[in-house]
């Protein structure tokens, strides 16, 4: 209880609350803009995080994440463009309902489902982080090696799209991570004589390029500077939305659970949580034919899932130092910058800061309701922001944001190159988030592999000799087998003659 009082004292300061309020507005704005993702929002937030103290910086990040993921639902319902990838699963349902004149109701349901999911996630973080930290105290290099492999496998194979392309993205990220001074001998790898590359490819400039600049390029290439949006119907929405949520309370809880599981699993982010919840929901629904054509049930279940996922993402990030997705990869970088080395000890060493993070999650998801309803009211203005002014402005913010880390124009160049690479990857159907996870987990993977190899003196069986490392290895094997099984099934389906097509 003492810790809670101290943490509340840290959080409820005027400057911290101001940071939270500004971050809420920032998160809502970025989330509501199609093409601007929450990952980009946090990557561009890094210069601000450097400037702020630990608690206001982390509380602001928690808030912008929660608000941004909700706000992604706004253009999904009104323009049929998901504001963030996490809203993509139910975009057809949201838009179909707003075509039926229920736009305001859909958005109100989105707010309440997001808030409920966020609170569920916060509870899971408070309970789950200490439990997993207990487990992690006994981890050695073998377990960390497998955790990294598991995270990379999940992001490659469970991501939407083709497993082969996901695997390519992971490999490219891991390769980028090998650039610079190596950890065993201090040998410079792939630096091409460029002194700036001795420290490796900067993660933050790379992320701003991959998630920010590449989206600017994509929007410019798409050439749509004006969006047409569905109007909101008049009338109250809070109570009707509450009724919808109560009617689908079972789905809400189930979606929350799916979100929590994907969150804790390293490598799977909120977008995957939403897709999984959507699939589960359709499987158990009494009206599966309505999915994709305006199912409120689907919106509730996946809308809860993508927000309950968020806090759960922080568990592996804080406890193992293994981020759950690209967003928490940035969080990991900011934690390190603030001198908080993630790992089981962080729960003990920075107890007050952590409890303040828990409280920030609660606060952000309670604030979600008034802020969310205000954002719905302002949505038509938000979507009217002229994109031909917005896109040049974001271009300059990407430039300054990548420059600000080391005051180096070389980093601006990294941002530029990664932006073009990110665009090409997306156009060719390769997912971008696994590249970042590869970059973050690469050094951890290599380090723990080399330590394990030397420790075991080349006896490979040592890698699975401990119970937890064996369990993680088996879990990894499951992740590898799932897409292979899907491939075999689709092959079998192709070989079998289709009925009626003789």
């Amino acid at each position: 209880m003492d810790a809670v009082t101290r943490a509340a004292g840290l959080l409820f300061q005027p400057d911290v609350l101001l940071a939270v309020l500004l971050a809420a507005a920032y998160g809502l704005f970025v989330g509501a803009m199609p093409g601007l993702t929450v990952t980009m929002a946090v990557a561009l937030f890094v210069p601000f995080a450097m400037f702020l103290d630990r608690v206001p910086a982390l509380a602001a990040i928690v808030t912008l994440q929660a608000m941004g993921i909700f706000a992604g639902d706004i253009p999904a319902a009104l323009v049929r463009m998901p504001g963030t990838p996490a809203s993509a699963a139910y975009v057809s349902d949201s838009f179909a309902l707003s075509q039926q004149g229920k736009a305001r109701l859909v958005l109100a349901v989105d707010v309440l489902a997001s808030s409920f999911g966020g609170l569920l996630g916060a509870a899971a973080l408070m309970v789950g982080a200490p439990l997993l930290a207990e487990l992690a105290l006994g981890f050695s290099s073998f377990e960390y090696f497998w955790l990294a492999v598991l995270g990379l496998s999940t992001t490659a194979f469970i991501a939407t799209g083709s497993p082969l392309k996901g695997a390519v993205s992971v490999t490219l990220g891991l390769l980028l991570a090998t650039v610079g001074i190596d950890i065993t001998l201090g040998f410079p790898r792939f630096t091409f004589g460029i002194p700036e590359l001795l420290d490796g490819v900067g993660l933050i400039p790379a992320m701003i390029g991959l998630f920010g600049f590449s989206e600017v390029l994509r929007s410019v290439l798409a050439g749509r500077m004006q969006l047409s949006y569905a109007p909101l119907e008049p009338g109250p929405a809070f109570v009707p939305a509450l009724r919808v949520l109560w009617r689908y309370r079972l789905q809400a809880l189930r979606g929350g659970l799916v979100g929590l599981v994907t969150g804790v699993l390293p490598g799977a982010g909120a977008d995957i949580g939403a897709w999984l919840a959507y699939g589960v929901s359709r499987k158990f629904s009494k009206e599966p034919q309505r999915y994709g054509r305006g199912s409120m049930e689907a919106i509730v279940e996946s809308g809860v899932a993508n927000n309950s996922d968020l806090a759960a993402e922080w568990i592996p990030t804080l406890v193992f130092g293994i981020p759950g997705d690209a967003f928490t990869a940035v969080v990991l970088g900011i934690l390190m910058m603030k001198g908080m080395r993630p790992g089981p000890a962080v729960l003990h060493d920075y107890r007050d800061v952590l409890v303040a993070i828990y409280l920030a999650f609660l606060l952000a998801n309670v604030l979600m309701v008034p802020f969310g309803f205000a954002a719905i009211r302002a949505s038509s203005h938000l979507l009217r922001v002229p994109r031909n002014v917005l896109l040049p402005a974001i271009t300059m913010v990407c430039v300054v944001g990548s420059y600000a880390m080391n005051n180096s124009l070389f980093d601006v160049g990294v941002m530029l190159v990664m932006g073009v690479v990110g665009l090409l990857l997306q156009v060719l159907g390769f997912p971008v988030a696994p590249v970042v996870l590869g970059m973050v987990l690469g050094p951890l993977l290599e380090q723990n592999f080399m330590i394990s190899l030397i420790k075991s003196e080349g006896a490979w069986v040592q890698f699975v000799a401990r119970p937890v490392s064996l369990a993680l290895a088996l879990l990894t094997a499951v992740v590898w087998v799932l897409p292979a099984a899907g491939f075999v099934r689709s092959l079998a389906a192709r070989l079998r003659p289709t009925p009626g097509a003789a």
């Binding site: 390519v168 410019v220 002229p386």
Partner: protein, 147 residues
């Protein structure tokens, strides 16, 4: 056949082979264990295999999707890239305020915001960014002409 996918696969195959070959010449640990070369070698080989698989998939898969951009939009995209290059070249001499005002105004006008509006909003936004990053966050932006 999907030519873009096959071409991407070919490129990845070449990159993987190059990485693997380069890394095989990295030094070893004195104890006989593999050293800095092990990881890049494995990754290069992996990338080469994935690239080959993509070539196969690209040759087998259905029709080319092509790039759906119009020539004008493609030109605009190129201009955005060039604007960043221009900033990198010019900002050390001209400074942040002048360079970013030029970049912002030019891009806005080109994307159709209207010349008058761009001439007002471009420099205004440059000033706002200067205040936010240069003054509030104390990023040492290049002063240049106005310094």
């Amino acid at each position: 056949m999907n030519p873009e996918e096959a071409a991407a696969g070919l490129l990845l195959l070449a990159l993987g082979a190059y990485v693997s070959a380069t890394a095989s010449r990295f030094p070893h640990l004195a104890t006989g264990y593999p050293g800095p070369g092990l990881f890049p070698q494995v990754l290069g080989a992996l990338l080469a295999v994935q690239g080959a698989a993509l070539v196969v998939a690209g040759l087998r898969d259905g029709g080319p999707r092509g790039f759906p951009w119009t020539r004008g939009d493609l030109f605009n995209g190129l201009l955005v890239v060039l604007a960043v290059v221009l900033y990198m070249v010019a900002s050390p001499r001209l400074g942040f305020l002048v360079t970013s005002a030029v970049v912002l105004t030019g891009l806005m006008a080109r994307l159709g915001a209207g010349l008058g509006r761009s001439l007002v909003l471009g420099p205004a936004l440059a000033g706002a960014l200067y205040l936010l990053f240069g003054k509030v966050l104390r990023v040492p932006l290049p002063p240049g002409l106005l310094g």
